[in-house]
């Protein structure tokens, strides 16, 4: 393995977990991954591969969806965290930005951001400073700060959700599909923000993404998940060069980008596992 993104100590270690929903639906069939401190790790894979489930297993939000980790272990800084409550995990510095935004509709944008600081005890001034920081990252939110989040557009809600997570001064952020529904410019912008938060504040990221292209540009290390199993992993740069990844996740053919118009004379992909 190359050492990109693995230069430092391991922060989060997921070891061979199995997740079952509703006592019957087996979704993760033995997923293992490690997230190094200070890195950006990407979790890639198609719809229903189990990315969200993996993140929720880590942040312990599974239980509220009637899912449970039936096998395997999850360690954070060497400590077993499976049995902690989500709020304990936030106190330990792990926060998740959920897929599909999940803003508090009836709260204003600013109140939404403030809930992110719920677990903080370092005083009003520090929180206010961070609020300003979020507003500088997302100026659009400042404009709409007094609107009820339920009435803001999809993109605005996504920004609110990310901003809210940053408000907790996290050590590790689990980011689920941050780019979904965002304008291209904003996608770049958000990843730039991820990068700068990562570099400047040393925050570790584990992000689940469909937008493989951008994700692999910003991540240090990547895992590819399919049908509940990790089928490939490696430093981001290597993955970008992998021909299969290129074709099926980046949409590149040998001659550069394929046109979506050409997909009709189309060759079904092969699956690594299924």
């Amino acid at each position: 393995m190359l050492d990109a993104g693995r230069t430092q100590e391991t922060l989060l270690e997921v070891n061979n977990i199995e997740v079952i929903y509703n006592h019957v639906i087996l979704v993760l069939k033995g997923v293992s991954l490690t997230v190094p401190k200070g890195g950006i790790t990407a979790l890639l894979g198609g719809n229903g591969a189990g990315k969200t489930t993996t993140l929720k297993a880590i942040s312990n939000l599974l239980r509220s969806e009637r899912g449970e980790v039936t096998k395997g272990t999850i360690h954070y800084r060497g400590e077993r965290v499976q049995d902690l409550s989500p709020s304990d995990l936030v106190k330990k510095g792990v926060i998740q930005v959920m897929e599909g935004r999940h803003c508090f509709e009836h709260l204003t944008v600013e109140e939404n951001l403030m809930t992110g600081a719920y677990t903080r005890t370092d005083g009003k001034a520090a929180i206010a400073a961070d609020l300003e920081m979020v507003y500088t990252y997302f100026p659009r939110l400042k404009e709409r700060r007094k609107s009820q989040a339920g009435y803001t557009s999809g993109g605005e809600q996504q920004m609110t959700a990310i901003g809210r997570a940053l408000m907790s001064r996290p050590e590790t952020v689990l980011l689920d599909e941050p780019s979904m529904g965002l304008a291209p410019q904003l996608v770049e912008q958000i990843f730039e923000i991820v990068k700068s938060v990562n570099e400047n504040e040393g925050v570790t990221f584990l992000l689940a993404e469909q937008n493989t292209n951008v994700a692999l540009r910003y991540a240090h290390y990547g895992y590819i998940l399919e049908s509940g199993r990790i089928v490939m992993d490696g430093p981001a740069a290597d993955l970008r060069e992998n021909p299969d990844v290129k074709e099926f996740y980046l949409g590149m053919s040998d001659t550069g980008r394929k046109s979506f118009r050409d997909v009709r004379s189309y060759r079904r992909r092969k699956r690594w596992l299924s």
């Binding site: 509220s64 989500p86 709020s87 998740q96 930005v97 959920m98 508090f104 009836h106 709260l107 009435y151």
Partner: protein
């Protein structure tokens, strides 16, 4: 006829006072709805349970005496002491907090992220359970509740206002208990409004109501929030139980006051604390005035349905209640 007018005013004032009493019950509903989106069917039973506990403690009743006697053939009923009121109230508050913890521990914790109707159902189960528990603990007979609240007409007001009308008018009747209730309600409403609107916990509480999962994800401890609001709701229930129990004695029917609170709640909006009080006042005045003017002509006892019809009329114009949060409809 000036007397007739003065009577109408009297009816209105008493309507306002009755409204305050309704609002006291509605307040408990609102708190829990606001904090978890749960429509708490058990609120009325909670009031009964609180009042039963208070009286039981005051009189030194042995809890579960009936069960103990049935099981062991003993004949225990009372400890033989009476407890000072304030101590009994403090202990009852303690019991309500323990109850809140138990509710969270055994029910809510397992129902995170479920649909509102399911949580509603759970509170129905809770209502059944508490009703049975209250009876087993303290017995089903009528108990007299006396915490030293004044009762009866305020003669001061009556005497002073008698001069307003003619011979047929005896001055305004206002129950002293109602005045106390109004003061207590005002304090409760103001402090709870401030709490939910401006404190960090209050914000968290509204966040939880919107989205359990998202609240969990930002580190809000649902368990803590729930224990907190159910405790407060328990205390509000105690207050309501005291006010109503002082009038009628403490007995099963106390739990039915919840029905008086429903139209208030709907009119004011499920999520608004001031809404509970304003709704209560409107319903109180509306139903009393209707009974006074039209009700007596069509046979009386119109108050129950009129309260709902009144709420309905308001809702047609504002589907979320007067002060409820706007129902967000987007696609």
């Amino acid at each position: 006829m000036p007397d007739q007018f003065l009577f109408a005013v009297e009816v209105m004032i008493n309507g306002l006072m009755a409204g305050v009493l309704y609002a006291l019950v509605a307040l408990g509903f609102v708190l829990i709805f606001k904090a978890s989106g749960i429509f708490n069917y058990a609120q009325g039973v909670l009031a009964l349970f609180a009042a039963l506990t208070l009286v039981g403690l005051q009189k030194g009743q042995i809890p579960f005496a009936h069960l103990i006697n049935a099981a062991f053939g003993t004949k225990v009923h009372y400890f033989g002491w009476t407890m000072p009121t304030f101590l009994a109230i403090a202990l009852t508050i303690g019991v309500m907090i323990l109850l809140a913890i138990a509710i969270e521990r055994f029910i809510l914790k397992h129902l995170v992220n479920q649909e509102p109707i399911i949580l509603f159902m759970a509170t129905i189960g809770l209502a059944y359970f508490l009703e049975g528990l209250g009876d087993v603990m303290w017995g089903a007979d009528v108990k007299t509740l006396d915490v030293g609240l004044p009762q009866g007409a305020s003669e001061w007001i009556e005497d002073r206002s008698a001069v307003l009308g003619g011979d047929g008018f005896y001055g305004f009747f206002i129950d002293k208990l109602d005045i106390v209730a109004a003061l207590v309600a005002a304090v409760l409403v103001i402090s709870l409004t401030l709490f939910s609107q401006y404190s960090k916990q209050g914000r968290a509480l509204r966040a939880v109501a919107d989205d359990h999962q998202a609240a969990l994800s930002v580190g809000i401890s649902l368990r803590f929030i729930w224990v907190l609001v159910w405790s407060i709701a328990g205390i509000v229930a105690l207050v309501a139980g005291i006010m109503w129990g002082a009038k009628s004695g403490v007995q099963f029917s106390l739990s039915l006051i919840a029905l008086k609170a429903l139209p208030v709640l709907m009119l004011g909006g499920f999520t608004s604390i001031p809404g509970a009080i304003v709704g209560g006042l409107i319903i109180g005045v509306g139903e009393k005035l209707f009974e006074f003017t039209i009700g007596s002509m069509i046979g009386g006892a119109t108050e129950n349905w009129f309260a709902y019809v009144l709420a309905l009329v308001f809702l047609v114009f504002r589907p979320q209640g007067l002060f409820g949060e706007k129902i967000i409809e987007r696609v």
